[in-house]
Symmetry: C2
Subunit: 213 residues, 2 copies
Amino acid sequence: MRLTDFQRKTLEDIGERVHPRARAVIYDAGDRADAVFVVIGGVLKSYRKLPSGKRAMSTFLFRHDIFGLAERGRYLNCVQAVTPVTLHELPLAELIPLIKRDARLQFKFLMKVTQGLREAQRRAILIGRRDAIGRMAMFLIMMRRQHRLTVGHDWDVPLPMSRADIASFLNLTSESVSRASRGLQQRGIVKFEKRHLARILDPASLEKLAAAV
Amino acid sequence: MRLTDFQRKTLEDIGERVHPRARAVIYDAGDRADAVFVVIGGVLKSYRKLPSGKRAMSTFLFRHDIFGLAERGRYLNCVQAVTPVTLHELPLAELIPLIKRDARLQFKFLMKVTQGLREAQRRAILIGRRDAIGRMAMFLIMMRRQHRLTVGHDWDVPLPMSRADIASFLNLTSESVSRASRGLQQRGIVKFEKRHLARILDPASLEKLAAAV
DNA sequence: CGATGCATTGATATCGGTCAAAGATGGTGG
DNA sequence: CCACCATCTTTGACCGATATCAATGCATCG
């Protein structure tokens, strides 16, 4: 599931690196979709604007994630940088012909999208939970896993996004996120060192809470 | 986004048609994944077994949907027929080499999986809603749309699945589904002719309820 | 014509949302 | 360097919607 050096080279040829700053909007729903993006570094959020004006978080995006899959030439979600990010921007005009020629390369994309699909299914289950604290536990585990993949250790987990973003992702209010965090901390499972840094003290209990669906 | 005749032929060559009866389990989570399926007719449900033993519906599957995407050679979900179904079973051992040769054909799969991803995102939003009646409205609209695609009209919408399945899909209890249904009927928006048949009397109101996120 | 599973209905409790306010935090400019 | 302001976060009180529990009603199939 890794790109070969040659594939990496090929993709770099048709794309360019971009470095949006934190809070930059990469694209907005309804924009003409003319590129797909690969996350090189940093964190982004993808959300949808609901008829009522509220925002429904779709997902957070991390290193190696791809985004920008469109419907009928238009983006459906909005994507915004949470931290400063580095992206690889692949213009569709070049990417599509390329993967229609190179089935091996396309296959990597197919795998990636499949992963994304599973991720979305998992999130649907997460959101389905009734208890705020369990959802928060799942989120922390997810973030820990993500962090471990990039950094290697997993005790100090950075949470670059705001509580409101977390709330949106978990389908809670930021008040509930706050209360759930407090709950976890009072039970000695997690210590919130700073706003954007959680230390997991009792991974076993955390897993147990997360699994208690 | 349609298969060419040639592509259809190619796929039919490597696969075979199967006809599981209602309630048949197509595969179970953890089974060795050795085929992908395309729905020719009928309705299926895909769900995941949670640690607690509860079942979390992933999605319903209709004509033209594909399923059986695996992770590390194992299926993650369970898939079960709701009605008698006709499936096209594509053994991975033949499908993978084929789409690694035929980029055009693979591209159809890529599009399909992308659609599935979007569908999962939409469902995540559906589930995030707080109001039972709105979720039920969204479900009915979804079923109506599905039915229109296959049959052409959309006033009498069949609901082949049980209330429990619907509840699971909407992340409600079957009691709440019942109450929401009654609510819709009392407002004159939908008439439940029989258990498995809904007549939509006031589509506009239904849309309005569904959109009121 | 039972009988079993599915669906409906009702009463109550629980948990998160909402509203309101106080408390941190971080960035800016004097 | 510090004070101040805007924004984000936490906390509390209360309310409402859905889950839960329990019982009845209804079909569908031997």
